[in-house]
Amino acid sequence: MRRFLEGPYAGVLALAILVAVLPLALPSLFYLRIAALIGIFALVVVGLNLLIGYAGQVSLGHAGFFGVGAYAVAIGPTYLGLPAWLALIAGAAIAGLIAFLVGRPILRLRGHYLAVATLGMGLLFAMVFANESAWTGGPDGMPVPHLDLFGFRMSGARTWYWISGVSLVIGAWVAANVIASPTGRALRAIHDSETAAQVLGIDVARYKLIAFVLSAVYAAVAGAYLAMFDGLVTPETAGFLRSIEFVTMAVLGGLGSTFGGIVGAALLVLLPQVLTVFQDYEHIALGLIMIVVMIFLPAGIVPSLAGLLRWRRS
């Protein structure tokens, strides 16, 4: 029992329960809509955490993959006649493939170099989405058709709450699986000492690539969800600021904590709703959060709170 509570699956179970009961507590569709958005962003962060929090590799370009997913469900049905669900799968696969191809050269880089290379990659994606107007509608973006599953139309806050919530639980479960496996141990080892990891036989490039591809797929699926939920996609979906938002969510909640990532996503989605002035100050707030958390709370909110609890108990 003790082992289960401290293991990775207790959090997943708690999350599943939360997702199941939350709609009972939410007073209106408006809140359900926000909860759906939180689920979508949290999905990205859970994936990104595998890369940044566990493997210790920064990406400043994940909005690019988010955009690939979003544009896939716009372009696939509109121009290629694909059903939306197939376009979603194709988008995730394409994002994974791109991550694989781009990741091979750039993941040889450490620290700063990787950060800049991913930043450039993200900007390149945004550029393509803005420039190829014949396919993407250019800077104004394009409408996204509805998702139809088994003859039902997936639309509205309630439906998307369940889609994003269930996906988040599955995403967190998969992440917990990875972390508790030899792959997860390899990723964490790479984070602490690449040299020692290599000497123990870990193919460092391969494992970084695995984390990169996985996190890209998470981002693409979430991007597709957001596009279908909003019914519209624009190049901003894949913009630099989005990438920074993702990193801030991960950092704020706690790098290397799946649950922390979800809390970080929730806080950053909620903030603009609570504080309407936040919209004007969005950049400043993101920047300040990144700096202040890194200096004063480098572990992030959730791991710091957990540490405090453990300390109080003993």
């Binding site: 030899p182 792959t183 964490r188 000492s193």
Partner: protein, 262 residues
């Protein structure tokens, strides 16, 4: 057949010649010590052998096969493992997890199975954990298995690195100052551990400044000074070599070394 053969190894950094024309061979079950003053090139030699630095001249052979320039993870597959003078512990992982990482090459590495935690993954995790616990018992760290490695005292970390290196089941083990910073009791323990490892057939290359330890357990000793070999032979040969005394041991060291052998 020698387990490790180093032939004419040389490397420079900027203007500094860190290694020049170093050659030796190590047989299975042998404890082969490399000694020399600070900056002699001992750690650099390990870095070249384990594939972290590409050598400028010379070859490295494992079991007769030329492995010069292979990356460290490939060398690990061929049975090479090592520890680090400036500890390279996975500080944020637990002690047991550190060792479990060392089992990497012996685990099935099918990522798809890991994503969905097939039952085989769980069984394997249990087996890896059991192996890790055995190794922790071997280096006397069982009590600390579930502590975060970062919270361990220095001497324990040295033994943790040895156990982690053993987890790969190496045929050749490079130990870089395993007793540095350890108290006499811990040093004694490490001494025993090394002898047991060699007795099991592993070729051990030992870099160490503790002359008592070196003289007591080494079968042969190789002396480096400023990247060059200045002597090689048994403990007695090396201890009485004038050049070695001048460059490294000093008179005091020589007496110390002599006492260790009795």
């Amino acid at each position: 057949m020698s387990m490790l053969a180093v032939e004419g190894l040389g490397i420079t950094f900027g203007g500094v010649t860190a290694l020049a024309d170093v050659s030796f061979e190590v047989k299975p079950a042998e404890i082969f010590a490399i000694i020399g003053p600070n900056g002699a090139g001992k750690t650099t030699l390990f870095n070249v052998i384990s594939g972290l630095y590409p050598p400028r001249q010379g070859r490295v052979r494992l079991n007769g096969e030329d492995v010069t320039g292979l990356p460290p993870d490939r060398l690990a597959r061929r049975g090479l493992s090592r520890t680090f003078q400036n500890l390279q512990v996975f500080f944020r992982m637990t002690v047991a997890e550190n060792i479990m990482v060392g089992r990497h090459l012996h685990e099935r590495r099918n990522v798809l199975a890991h994503l969905f935690t097939l039952p085989s993954v769980l069984a394997q995790n249990r087996a890896t954990r059991a192996k890790a616990e055995n190794l922790l018992a071997f280096v006397d760290l069982s009590d600390l298995a579930d502590r975060t490695a970062g919270s361990l005292p220095y001497g324990a970390l040295r033994r943790l690195e040895i156990a982690r290196a053993l987890a790969t089941e190496p045929k050749l083990l490079l130990l870089d100052e395993p007793a540095a910073g350890c108290n006499p009791v811990e040093t004694e323990e490490i001494d025993n551990v090394i002898q047991k490892i060699a007795a099991s057939g592993v070729a051990v290359v030992l870099v160490e400044h503790d002359m008592k330890l070196v003289m007591k357990i080494s079968h042969r000793i190789h002396v480096l000074d400023r990247g060059r070999t200045i002597a090689q032979g048994s403990a007695a040969d090396v201890r009485n070599n004038e050049q070695v005394i001048a460059a490294y041991l000093g008179r005091h060291g020589q007496r110390e070394a002599a006492r260790a052998q009795d």
